[in-house]
């Protein structure tokens, strides 16, 4: 399929992923008085700067902590797609990635938001993308053998989550890697789009929190986020979790592994549920 068409589909804000209930700590950040300018000088510019800075810090911690999982899940499913790996082996790798993400995400609010969006992506694939509507013929050449294998894999993974199996949570970065690989999107596009959507979802949350207006959000998206997303991808595209690493790969946890880079964001995101009133789920 034409990659550009897939990108349009996946970046559509109508995509049912449940991302609209997540602010990834932004609501809590604002409630705790961060980036709040003195009342008399609360100009729209200052507010814009605050949001842009939050997006930057959030991206720069999300990218190194989540992108390695996106990349490895994409790689694992890609191996199945090309016939280089068998389904049980792929499923085991996905569970290992999911279990590791659960262990490394030591923030219950982020874990909850991640798992609910991940499950939504699996459902989206199974119900929305895996097969053509009704009995209609598919216009895609993807009625190829690998499409069936992808659908079977996603169903099997969903089942392990529904059964509540150990290490099966369906975390967002893992599921995003699965979804994109199953659709045949390249790894580079998969990584870039994931971070772009993270940034866009923060801006959409900022608008709904009435912190900035919709035009300011578009300004930030065009003038600031492009460069931030590009830089984050440049820096983190090569990171891996180690789950797929084999002896001789030279993978080194300190140099090449996932990491959080923003302890303040972590504390504020975890305190989300303590807010007296809130409109988001994270």
């Amino acid at each position: 399929m034409d990659e550009a068409y897939l990108l349009l589909l996946l970046s559509d804000s109508n995509l049912p992923t449940g991302a609209f209930v997540a602010s990834s700590g932004l609501e809590s950040f604002l409630a705790h008085g961060f980036g709040a300018p003195p009342p008399q000088s609360a100009t729209p510019t200052l507010k814009s700067d605050t949001i842009a800075a939050f997006v930057r810090d959030s991206l720069n911690t999300y990218a190194p902590s989540a992108l390695p999982f996106v990349s490895d899940a994409h790689e694992a499913v890609g191996r199945l797609r090309t016939g280089a790996a068998a389904p049980p082996c792929t499923l085991a790798l996905l569970k290992a990635l999911d279990g590791l993400y659960e262990c490394t995400t030591l923030n219950h609010v982020a874990r909850r938001a991640s798992a609910s969006q991940g499950v939504a992506l699996l459902s989206l694939y199974a119900k929305g993308f895996a097969r053509p509507p009704g009995h209609a013929a598919s216009a895609l050449p993807a009625a190829a053998p690998e499409a069936a294998a992808m659908a079977a894999l996603v169903d099997a993974f969903k089942l392990t989550v529904r059964r509540g199996e150990r290490d099966a949570h369906a975390h967002l970065p893992v599921c995003w890697g699965i979804l994109c690989a199953a659709l045949g999107l390249s790894l580079e596009r998969t990584q870039h789009l994931h971070l772009y959507l993270h940034a866009r979802s923060l801006l959409s949350a900022a608008v709904r929190l009435n912190s900035i207006g919709p035009y300011a959000a578009q300004q930030i998206l065009l003038h600031v986020c492009g460069a931030l997303v590009d830089a984050a991808v440049r820096k983190c595209a090569r990171l891996r979790t180690g789950v797929l690493a084999e002896d001789g790969d030279g993978w080194d946890e300190v140099r090449d592994g996932p990491a959080n880079t923003w302890p303040l964001g972590e504390i504020l995101a975890a305190r989300h549920d303590l807010q007296h009133s809130r409109i988001f789920n994270s």
Partner: protein, 296 residues
């Protein structure tokens, strides 16, 4: 690897009757271990010290610790672990600034047996300007072992105007119970965030302000259940109303594994964070008032 290799150390504590006895307590420069006499059944204390009060570029410390069944080991340090780019007064030609910066590495492996308790309560790590530090700690617990792990970092020497001015701080804490990983906390603080963006630079200080100390406290195991319950209750009572100014100290609490918690604290002063941790009465009950005072 023997303890005579530079920077290596071993601690092995066993319970003989009601006495906690060090079966091994050995170390080699620049690492030093001291154990004061403690009059409390089943408990022993060791201080982890580095010669000259700090570690320098290229130093490598590796400590292996085993806590035997039923024993309680408290590990403290004397003053913060200072990480220099250079050894003070020894700006040797071999480490001049044009060369690649060698990272200081501290690796600690802990094995906590059945019914045993490890309390790792060092002073915070303070990385000086341009220093680079890796700390990798692995905790292997038996099913009913208990753990208190405090890992904290400050923004540098305020007296010299340092405010998150180090080059890199990387810390991993991994907890395994009977070989199964239940938590892996990886924190990386560095000053060159994402490379060139064409946007104005954003420093580490920018994104960590207004705080100059960040702490992670991990509590796990049967001996900590009382402390954990009290903390969970206290946390649950917090209600955040929209404010115009950040608080001087903030903490968060999340559960992990089965029954463990990770607490994170940010404070505008490290002493405030120390007071907060020092206020955990349940920990004082485990180690006794004298030892608890030694922590702060």
């Amino acid at each position: 690897m023997t303890a005579t290799t530079p920077g290596r150390g071993r601690i092995s504590l066993a319970l003989h009757g009601t006495d906690a006895v060090f079966e091994e307590l050995s170390s080699a420069y620049p690492l030093k271990l001291l154990s004061p006499r403690i009059h409390r059944p089943g408990l022993a204390v060791a201080y982890i010290i580095s010669y000259g009060g700090g570690l320098v570029s290229g130093d490598s410390v590796a400590l292996a610790v085993a806590v035997g069944s039923g024993a309680i080991l408290v590990l403290l340090s004397q003053g913060s672990t200072k990480v220099f780019k250079f050894r003070p007064g020894q700006r040797a030609a071999s480490t001049h600034s044009s060369g690649p910066l060698l990272t200081t590495t501290q690796r600690m492996d802990f094995e906590v047996s059945s019914g045993a308790t490890l309390l790792l309560l060092p002073d915070p790590v303070t990385c000086f300007r341009s220093a680079a530090y890796n700390q990798i700690q692995t905790f292997r617990l038996a099913r009913d072992a208990s753990l208190v792990l405090l890992d904290w970092v400050t923004s540098g020497r305020k007296s010299r105007g340092e405010d998150w001015a180090f080059s890199r701080y990387y810390s991993v804490n991994e907890v395994l119970v009977e070989g199964r990983r239940i938590a892996r906390d990886v924190m990386l603080l560095e000053n060159d965030d994402a490379g060139p963006t064409g946007l104005p630079p954003r420093t580490l200080a920018n994104k960590l302000e207004p705080y100059s100390c960040y702490a992670t406290l991990i509590l796990y195991g049967p001996k900590l259940q009382g402390v954990i319950r009290a903390l969970v209750q206290e946390y649950g009572r917090i209600s955040v109303f929209k404010t115009g100014q950040p608080a001087g100290l903030l903490w968060s609490l999340s559960g992990f594994g089965d029954g463990g918690v990770v607490v994170r604290v940010a404070g505008s002063e490290s002493e405030g964070v120390r007071r907060w941790v020092g206020g955990l009465r349940g920990l004082e009950e485990i180690v006794g008032t004298d030892v608890w005072r030694a922590f702060g």
